[in-house]
Amino acid sequence: MGRILIVDDTLFMRTLLKNILFAGGHDIVGEAGDGDEAIAKYQELKPDLVTMDIVMPKMNGIEALKGIRAHDPNAKVIMCTAVGQEQMVKLAIKTGAKGYIVKPFQAPKVLEEIKNVIGT
């Protein structure tokens, strides 16, 4: 099971995801509310995986993804996406994201994706 950093600008989504991941046996090592914070927390906590929201204030998820990969080219980041964000997700994948999960989150799908990404 992995050490995970959750990045989302809403406490609600972070809590929802945290509970899903926790129930799936993962450790939530940190949370961040925007891209800046995500990069700082990544360097500090060195998590196994990051779940990254796309639309966030200050710095969006794609920029944060770039920032994280600039520090750690092997960083495993999966994007949290909603319907209508396909182009952004593709951009994220091209930028180095390893996977994606779709809102509203379905626990089994989320856990499967995380298992697969951490396993690679």
């Binding site: 406490l11 969006n60 600039a70 909603a82 964000q85 182009q87 994948i93 809102k103 990404v117 690679t120």
Partner: protein, 659 residues
């Protein structure tokens, strides 16, 4: 849903914040195009949509989705902001507010009319781009990797050689998005080998909406069959069959593939290192307000029982007990102060609702109003804050309806066309002062007097010598209005008296100042908190009562020779001042022992009362009278001191004002 009920409170709290952000930025947009405001609305609508979908509140999700679409197009520059659009957006935002109320009350956020409103919003969007293509174009362009990077990536891939394999991949039918999943699989394969060919083409796999989820990749890799199979497997991959390939595809394919390569090698990208803030931990938590109220009640009980123990300790005179009690006393005081601070919330919580109100009223009244808020960070106890919304709303409505003139009239009077309304708050020693000032026409004192004479409130003779402040005081009389016509908003004569009553129940006061032609300023003075008060315990006719220390000017002995009769009333001459003496007989019965005089003051008015004995001073918790008792003249509430007796607290304000 039941699982999600635990998230409901969090959902509502966070959604309200997002909703407030949306409304605030709508009003900014109305004044002109503002990119930051558009981005913020888009983000908030997007967050709200996501949260609502997670909670299963589909109606809310639809409204937010429509709003998000609108702002997507505004961001792209394909939709212009018009007055009609802003109006429709505000209707939608009202819907959101109502739905949140419903959800907070345990509902699903279903209210009337939403579907029509969503349809109206969608009407503005018109030719919505197909799903998936409506993401911000600017950002996509921004992130397209430069050409030379793909070349270096290709060069990197070129270094990898080895046996050639074909991988047949089949994605599951339940896959959310086959293009993206295909893209991930190709990327994973690429990390361990060099892709020589993809069938159908890579474009089809990654971008074609018609892509059905089956593709074949030819690659050269040293990693071995197992590793390739691992790389190609993953979420949504139903089958990833790897086989050795003996037929080496020709160079042109590589070239074709290379030409297609528009990908970045993420590892080689050197992004600017962002300034990072280390150690920024979550320092705030959310607490349900009812829990704070419960805690406050418990602390109040603790304060009461501390008083009780102190009294018991006095009786037994045990040194150790006294010492311990003094320690407990200190902790309780600290706890009490801390709790007071926790309960303080910034005034911006209610101030932020008003820009919208001002806009609506001004629009309806056909007036131009610039609204400013100052000092929204000033803090007040939540219990005081609760009762403040309505009085402030009344005053703001009055200012726009009666105060600020129409643009043409203002121009004629040599003023700027746009009126100014300022809502400000500041802390002044122990009080919080809120001001509502407009630069309108001011209060016509002559009309107020005329109306007062007409209603028989004052004689023309008395009116002639009245101070300005006394004249304005008529405005706070029930049913008093100088407006000639009754409008939708004000002029019905309900208003200022309601405002004053509401403020009195909050232990606050209101003053008005006005200059004809220049404007009016209402000043509200409020105690920052009202729960715990310093009182003097006295006995009148041997019954106990508490008087707030803040209202006591002085205490003196009462000898018969100091009492003078003026008409049928008893008065006292104190420091060249004649004060009415009130024995409060209607409240406590007549006492023969009254030997002490207590001078009370509220604002400028003073009055003296006679009491039997003063028992001491202490901090008490004032509990309001319950609904069963209702309003009781002269009593503002009750308190329970150490001995457990229920003691009334004098309402000095009403006693002083009585004739």
């Amino acid at each position: 849903m039941s699982d999600l009920d635990t998230y409901r409170a969090l959902y509502v709290a966070e959604s309200r914040e997002n909703h407030e952000t949306i409304v605030k930025n709508f009003l900014i947009l109305e004044r002109g195009l503002d990119k930051a405001a558009i981005d913020e609305i888009f983000r908030s609508a997007h967050s709200l949509k996501g949260m609502s979908a997670s909670m299963g509140f589909s109606m809310m999700e639809r409204v937010c989705h429509a709003m998000e679409d609108v702002f997507q197009q505004i961001r792209n520059g394909t939709l212009k902001i018009t007055q009609a659009l802003v109006d429709h957006l505000l209707v939608a935002s009202d819907d959101i507010e109502q739905m949140l109320d419903d959800i907070e009350g345990g509902g699903e956020g279903t209210i009337e009319g939403v579907i029509e409103h969503v349809a109206t919003l969608k009407g503005h969007v018109g030719g919505t781009p197909p799903d998936g293509l409506n993401e911000p174009r600017a950002e996509v362009t921004l992130s397209t990797p430069p050409r030379e990077e793909s070349t270096s990536n290709l060069a990197l891939a070129g270094e990898m050689s080895g046996p050639v394999y074909t991988v047949k991949v089949r994605l599951s039918a339940a896959c959310d998005n086959k293009n993206i999943r295909g893209m991930i699989v190709l990327q994973n394969i690429e990390e361990i080998g060099r892709i020589i060919r993809v069938i159908p083409s890579r474009e089809t796999v990654e971008d074609d909406n018609g892509f059905e989820g089956t593709f074949e990749v030819t690659l050269a890799s040293d990693a071995g069959e197992e590793a390739i199979s691992g790389a190609a497997s993953g979420t949504d991959v139903e089958e990833a069959a790897v086989s050795s390939c003996t037929v080496y595809p020709g160079a042109p394919s590589v070239q074709a593939e290379a030409a297609h390569e528009g990908r970045a090698a993420p590892d080689t990208r050197k992004e600017r290192t962002e300034k990072t803030e280390k150690g920024r931990e979550v320092k705030n938590i959310r607490v349900d307000i009812t829990r704070l109220d419960q805690m406050m009640n418990l602390i109040e009980d603790l304060v009461i029982n501390r008083g009780r123990i102190t009294q018991i300790a006095k009786k037994y005179q045990i040194k150790e007990l006294d010492e311990t009690l003094s320690m407990v006393g200190r902790s309780v005081s600290d706890l009490q102060n801390l709790m007071m601070n926790i309960r303080m919330i910034p005034l911006s919580v209610i101030f932020n609702r008003f820009p919208r109100t001002v806009r609506d009223i001004a629009l309806r009244e056909g007036k131009e109003v610039e609204f400013n808020i100052v000092g929204g960070d000033t803090e007040l106890d939540r219990s005081v804050m609760d009762g403040l919304n309505d009085p402030l709303l009344h005053l703001i409505r009055n200012a726009i309806d009666h105060g600020i003139e129409r643009a043409d009239d203002r121009e004629r009077a040599g003023k700027p066309r746009c009126g100014n309304l300022c809502l400000s708050a500041r802390r002044d020693r122990d009080n919080v002062i809120i001001e509502i000032a407009d630069d309108g026409g001011g209060i016509r004192a002559d009309r107020v007097i005329a109306k007062a004479i007409e209603r028989g409130l004052v004689t023309p003779e008395a009116a002639a010598s009245m101070e300005k402040e006394a004249v304005y005081d008529f405005l706070f009389q029930a049913g008093f209005s100088t407006a000639d016509t009754i409008t939708d908003l004000s002029g019905r004569g309900v208003g200022l008296d309601v405002v004053r009553t509401a403020l009195q129940s909050l232990k606050g006061t209101i003053h008005v100042e006005s200059t004809l032609g220049e404007g009016t300023r209402f000043e509200l003075i409020l105690p920052p908190t009202m729960a715990i008060v310093d009182v003097m315990m006295v006995r009148i006719n041997s019954r106990r009562c508490a008087i707030p220390v803040a209202n006591i000017v002085e205490v003196a002995s009462l000898s018969d020779d100091r009492i003078h009769s003026v008409g049928s009333r008893e008065t006292i001459l104190m420091r060249d001042e004649v004060l009415l003496l009130d024995r409060l007989e209607d409240m406590f019965g007549s006492s023969v022992l009254s030997e002490i005089l207590v001078v009370l003051q509220h604002q400028e008015r003073k009055r003296s009362i006679a009491v039997d004995v003063i028992e001491g001073q202490q901090e008490v918790v004032i509990k309001p009278l319950g609904q069963i008792v209702g309003i009781c003249r002269g009593i503002s509430g009750v308190t329970i001191p150490g001995d457990g007796e229920v003691v009334p607290v004098l309402d000095v304000k009403s006693i002083v004002r009585e004739n």
